[in-house]
């Protein structure tokens, strides 16, 4: 399987604090790569570097696309999602709570719709070409809502959904930008076992059917061990282990990091 993302010697310092220390790892196409580690290990900081919210102190991040590899350092802010096609979700859900479920999914298709609406000009004239494109966007939203079973709540406010559904909605909203790489920050946090199982199913579907690479931060081991193809373990900003899920379970370093060293 070919590489999708290569992180090389990534270092992030905040003043004197080194949050990520010389981290290198690869994530492959059509695989779920999990980043785990105790609280404060620097997992979310890795995400923030990858998705342009932080500018790393040192190191490179490359995304391998059909047309060649591109450096993620070049893109900041909204361009990571718009140009590089790296999507993410957040640890504390960030939906648009006062907007409807459907509108949430349409905002994710903003850039295509902006072009289709002739930067609002065609839209104001109500041209058919724009209306057709809008219908396509709605169809795409319906497709994803069917998958997570929220089609009948499409017109309700996103903020009124139950917690588990909000998590799933945030994931499919990120999928609406058709990303190459999907970064999920603790998607199973606060979910009950049944909801976690549904989440596993959704992530497997995205991996196999949508051919999208997934990078996952998670504490819920039933999710991590159930679906990860590859696991990277961080502690104090350093990579302490890398391997398959089964190898991780038995690794001495990992157990020490989580449970402490036996004196």
């Amino acid at each position: 399987m070919s590489n999708l993302l290569s992180v090389e010697n990534l270092t992030m310092q905040f003043g004197g604090l080194t949050a990520i220390d010389n981290l290198s790892f690869d994530a492959k196409n059509n695989e779920i790569t999990s980043i785990i580690g105790p609280n404060g290990a620097g997992k979310t900081t890795v995400f923030n570097c990858l998705t342009g919210f932080y500018k790393p102190t040192n190191g490179q991040m490359f995304l391998h696309k059909n047309e060649g590899k591109i450096s993620l350092r070049k893109y900041t802010d909204f361009k990571i999602a718009h140009v590089a096609k790296v999507a993410r979700t957040f640890q504390n859900i960030r939906l648009f709570p006062a907007m409807s479920v459907l509108e949430n999914l349409l905002v994710a298709q903003h850039n295509e719709l902006m072009v289709a609406s002739g930067y609002s000009l065609f839209g104001l004239l109500n041209l058919k070409s724009y209306r057709d494109k809008e219908q396509l966007a709605v169809d795409k939203a319906r497709y994803w809502l069917d998958i997570i079973g929220l089609t009948n709540r499409a017109d309700d406010n996103a903020g009124d959904l139950p917690y588990g559904d909000q998590r799933k909605l945030e994931i499919v909203r990120a999928m609406c930008i058709e990303p190459k790489l999907l970064c999920l920050d603790e998607p199973a946090a606060g979910l009950n076992p049944k909801e976690s199982a549904e989440l596993n199913k959704l992530l497997k579907f995205i991996k196999t059917e949508k051919k999208t690479g997934i990078l996952l931060i998670e504490h819920d081991m039933s999710v991590v061990m159930g679906i990860s193809d590859h696991v990277v373990v961080l502690n104090y900003g350093k990579k302490i282990f890398e391997g398959t899920a089964d190898q991780t379970k038995t690794s001495k370093e990992v157990i020490e990091a989580y449970l402490g060293v036996d004196e």
Binding site: G52, A81, F96, S100, E103, S117, L124, A141, T151, D155
Partner: protein, 422 residues
Amino acid sequence: MEKKDIIQSVKDSLFTGVIALALFGPIVGLRTASKGEGLFITPQWGIVFILVGLCILGRFLINLNSARKTEFTFFSKFTSKLSSVTEEKAKHLAITAILFAVVFPFLPFTDRYFMDVAIMILTYIMLGWGLNIVVGLAGLLDLGYVAFYAVGAYSYALIATTFGWSFWICLPLAGVFAAFFGILLGFPVLRLRGDYLAIVTLGFGEIIRIVLINWYEVTNGPDGITGIPRPSFFGLPFKRSPDEGEASFHTFFNLEYSTMHRIIFLYYLILILALITNYFTLKIRKLPVGRAWEALREDEIACKSLGVNPTNTKLTAFAIGAMFGGFAGSFFATRQAFISPESFTFIESAIIVAIVVLGGMGSQTGVVLASIFLIGITEMFRDLEQYRMIAFGGAMVLIMVFKPKGILANRKPTILMHGDKK
């Protein structure tokens, strides 16, 4: 109701009375009057007792009512009914309202005074709708909106007096200038949100006003600009005695000359401008850029993570909002024929923001109701002179008590998957 409750509410009412006495005693009770030489204090205890009595009685009645746990208010019921009407009915309601606005100048009780008030209300409705784009949709609290109103008015006045171009050429130019100033303000405040943004926009409003006062060579400073040309009816001026060989409105249509003609024309002009603003806002809200504005109001970080460009989105909101402020400004200039920086003080911005917030952020109908309510009430109490601002404040307090989210707070989705179910 139990005896205990009654005693409790009597106690509470008396306490209210004490507060009222402390407030009204010095403010109303002691009046200074100048007699001959020097000021003398004339006590007016009678009025104080009446006011305090009213407060005690009012508080007691409110207590009785809340003890019975009945919803007192026709107002809440009326507005919640308004919020729950279906799209079909809302359309009928809007058409009725527009029809009423169209025939209003010809109703039997409509006189010059009513027309002036109606024009004023419509101007505020238009400003409210313009600001609604910035505050209601994009969620950018702008306390300096009057700056764009001023830019529109001054661009119109300067272009019209310097080049003598007609209203219909100057109007779009004024809009363009105001939009340009909108972008100018937008750039430095891109990173600001909430309170910080409000402070900077407030400062911007003051800067524009102070520039207008001090840039004597161009704006004529505090003396203002006089002799701004009036709009004409497709080239027909509203003059009593037109120049030789020129037709004026009343000679062309063989009418008796009346100043009302011009007033009625101005009324229709602002009505059309306001309706254009409304139509445009309703349309653009359903377009991607409108949805991006609302998404930005909800969560800017999520917007970035979805590839929405926050810079462009914010700047378009500022520019379009400012443009409508500019249109309203040129209307103001042509209506008054005289403008000076005094017309563009902070209180104007505050009133417009109040209209948007009290109407219910983002609600177009809410802006209309709030304008009629606030401006109408202030006008009704005009006889009270400076005390009419108490009525204005009272109206705001009433709305905030009964409708903390504004008169019409509910938001309808811009697009539905399953159609209108209600």
